[in-house]
């Protein structure tokens, strides 16, 4: 029987960061809790924050469940996480700069050439181009899980356009509105500076050619995208324009935005669309979402695209296994945050081990995301395990496997009262002229009893995440 680290209760006692929450829940009668839960739901519904689930059909405006019980870190816990996250973000960007230049890490034999140069996310089109300040991934979302008081593991890196930060901000907003007393009793570090730091980060990577206050825009694929709410939310909070491809055009080596006062030059594009759709003259010719000619302007230094096209080669699940090596290779430091041990099914020895121990492992597709196309061995039937075995055997390169981690739990409000539920954490590290991290992130919680899958597409919810002041 696996034991799980409970972040609130340890050895029958309440851990220090949760001390004040103990009294809070004890003093809350069930009726009040139900009332508050209904209020939270109404608030989320009113502000329109909903999440459409890919490929599941049903209600596209379904609310992502919000659990009112906060998750709490001490300042000391956070300070170590912060150093580890920033270290990782620096290493990932150093890797990206390197593999689009001389590829020293490949030449040194530290990572196979095939994994980098034959990777679908590697963009030949940007080889030799160095983005402003040498930053490829400006918003690095690092998914972390915890298995003990001091044991954190990186589950995956998200170097392209990690989503979910709007939940971090809204969860806090709603908690403060509903439970102002909590915020008086606990000294909680604020997260509301995120949009301003994001804006500053984006402005700091404006092209050299920009000689005035940079104009930043967010490029969205449109309102049918599942994260559209977040795009408009961030544009609003940053005070920048939210645009679609058709609102932008290219002329004379620059990108322009159509406005009621005539064309306005755009310096930095925070894009929330994939590389393949950015520019039909460079990538997919049938794309209607992008801006024709954008990549020529980008590569001649007329505009900055965030994240930089090609950044995805650093966050693929096979490349992930090499991130600790990147930390050592580029920074000459020992990684502060550990990887989850990972078997690459493309390697014969690893594949053998995986197939022999399938029922114990978590298996994921190399390019998959959102909790789809994965097997959680211990939670699957023998038939499901066998079916997955055939998929792996048919295309081993496409799969990685990891041990089933004993994910920590945090109390959550459930029908029966309060019960432990498994959680993970996604902080959002901002990389521009400086590297910054607001004290907090998105805690996702598997609300189904016993479930280890926290993805919102698989019945996961979210929590407010507190970092206490010293």
């Amino acid at each position: 029987m696996t034991t799980y680290f409970n972040e609130m209760y340890q050895d029958g006692a309440v851990r220090a960061p949760y001390a004040r929450l103990n009294g809070w829940t004890n003093a809350m009668p069930a009726e009040l809790r139900q009332m508050k839960q209904a209020e939270a739901e109404a608030l989320f519904r009113r502000i329109g924050i909903t999440f459409a689930v890919y490929g599941e059909g049903g209600d596209p405006d379904r609310l992502i469940p919000f659990d009112m019980f906060p998750r709490v870190f001490t300042a000391a816990e956070w300070s170590r996480l912060e150093r580890g996250i920033k270290q990782r973000a620096r290493a990932l960007n150093a890797f990206l700069v390197d593999v689009y230049a001389r590829g020293e890490i490949v030449r040194a034999g530290r990572i196979p050439a095939r994994l980098v140069y034959q990777n679908e996310a590697y963009e030949k089109a940007v080889v030799g181009f160095r983005p402003p300040k040498g930053v490829y991934s400006h918003i690095v979302g690092i998914d972390l899980v915890r298995t003990g008081p001091d044991d954190f593991f990186v589950l995956e890196d998200n170097c392209r356009t990690p989503s979910g930060v709007s939940y971090m901000l809204e969860n806090r907003e709603i908690m403060m509105r509903m439970f102002p007393d909590l915020f008086r009793e606990n000294r909680i570090q604020p997260v509301d500076s995120y949009p301003e730091i994001l804006r500053r980060t984006l402005a700091s990577v404006a092209p050299l050619k920009c000689d005035r206050e940079p104009t930043v825009v967010i490029l969205t694929p449109g309102h049918f995208n599942s994260a559209y709410y977040e795009h408009s939310f961030l544009a609003d909070l940053m005070g920048v324009e939210l645009v679609e491809g058709q609102d932008l055009f290219v002329e004379g080596g620059f990108v322009w935005m159509r406005t009621t006062e005539g064309p306005k030059k755009v310096d930095v594009i925070y894009r929330r669309i994939d590389d393949a759709f950015l520019d039909p003259l460079c990538f997919r010719p049938d794309s209607m979402l992008g801006v024709p000619g954008l990549m020529d302007v980008y590569r001649s230094g007329g505009v900055t695209i965030c994240s930089a096209p090609g950044a995805g080669v650093a966050d693929d699940k096979a490349v992930y296994t090499y991130v600790p090596d990147m930390v050592r290779f580029y920074l000459g430091e020992e990684p502060i945050l550990q990887n989850v041990p990972t078997w690459l099914c493309g390697r014969a020895d690893d594949l053998k081990y995986v197939l022999e121990n399938l029922a114990e492992l978590v298996v994921k597709e190399v390019h998959g995301s959102g909790g789809y196309g994965m097997l959680v061995g211990p939670r699957s039937t023998a038939d499901q395990v066998e079916a997955f075995r055939h998929r792996i055997e048919a295309d081993p390169e496409n799969y990685i496997a990891q041990p089933t981690l004993a994910l920590s739990t945090v109390p959550a409000f459930v029908d029966q009262g309060i019960a432990p539920r498994h959680v993970d954490l996604r902080p959002y590290c901002l990389v521009g002229e400086r590297i910054e991290l607001v004290p907090g992130g998105l805690t996702r919680v598997a609300l189904k009893e016993g479930s280890l899958v926290v993805n919102s597409s698989q019945g996961g919810g979210v929590k407010d995440t507190w970092v206490l002041a010293e």
Binding site: R102, V127, G128, F249, G252, D296
Partner: protein
Amino acid sequence: MILTVDHVTTYRYSAPVRAMVQSHRLTPAQFDGQKVLSWEVAVTEGTPGGAFRDGAGDLIQGWTVVGPIAEITVTVRGRVDTFDTAGVLRGHRATVNPCCYLRDTMRTRMDAALADLAAPVLDEVGPDDPLTRAHRLSAAVSDAILWQPGATQVQTTAAEALTRGAGVCQDHAHALIALARHAGLPARYVAGYMFTGDQPGEAAHAWTEIHIRGLGWVGFDPANRCCPDARYVRLGSGLDAQDAAPIRGIARGGADESMDVAVAVRAAQQ
């Protein structure tokens, strides 16, 4: 050999379009096999955008035309001094790792028939002799696909051209790329011009480059059963014809487009 190139592309629209954007890979690079004496690209009413040399060593230049306009002409004129290097691309600056050219695309995807075409060559010539393998694969493509203008279209894949048994230089190049990558050799599509003299052939031409350890990139032209020599002017490369296209463009305004291309390559009188 001094070659002059005249390359005129005319776009006509059924109704005036609001704007057009193009990305050009239309300027030859300097290397041991070619020295550019003069080169000029002009676009009717066009505004040039930023220019840069990409990681493959090709000069890329963006252009925009603001309408309304019903006809746009792209004119390329130049003189190049060319030298026979037996197909070997020497002195060409590029930073893209050759492994990138092992990735396939829709147009260069293998099928069973292409694999059958490669099999005897790969059986007879071992992987320790990649140059001979490349020559033999190129010959196999020449034998299997007859040169027949009009037999295929721009979208035709390597597999389709082989099934048809006929095609143009684009199809030969795609088929050879597919076979070379299948044999583990990085391969890419090269667009350029060719001086054909009195012979039939394509002045706007395409061939294949295969990366051979020790030699670097080497050109193979299965359409003409040879390696590129002083008759060839090299413009640029890519994973396939679309990726290497000398002109990629898009017009805004929703009118029907027709395109005329006239290419003349002449040997200058010494």
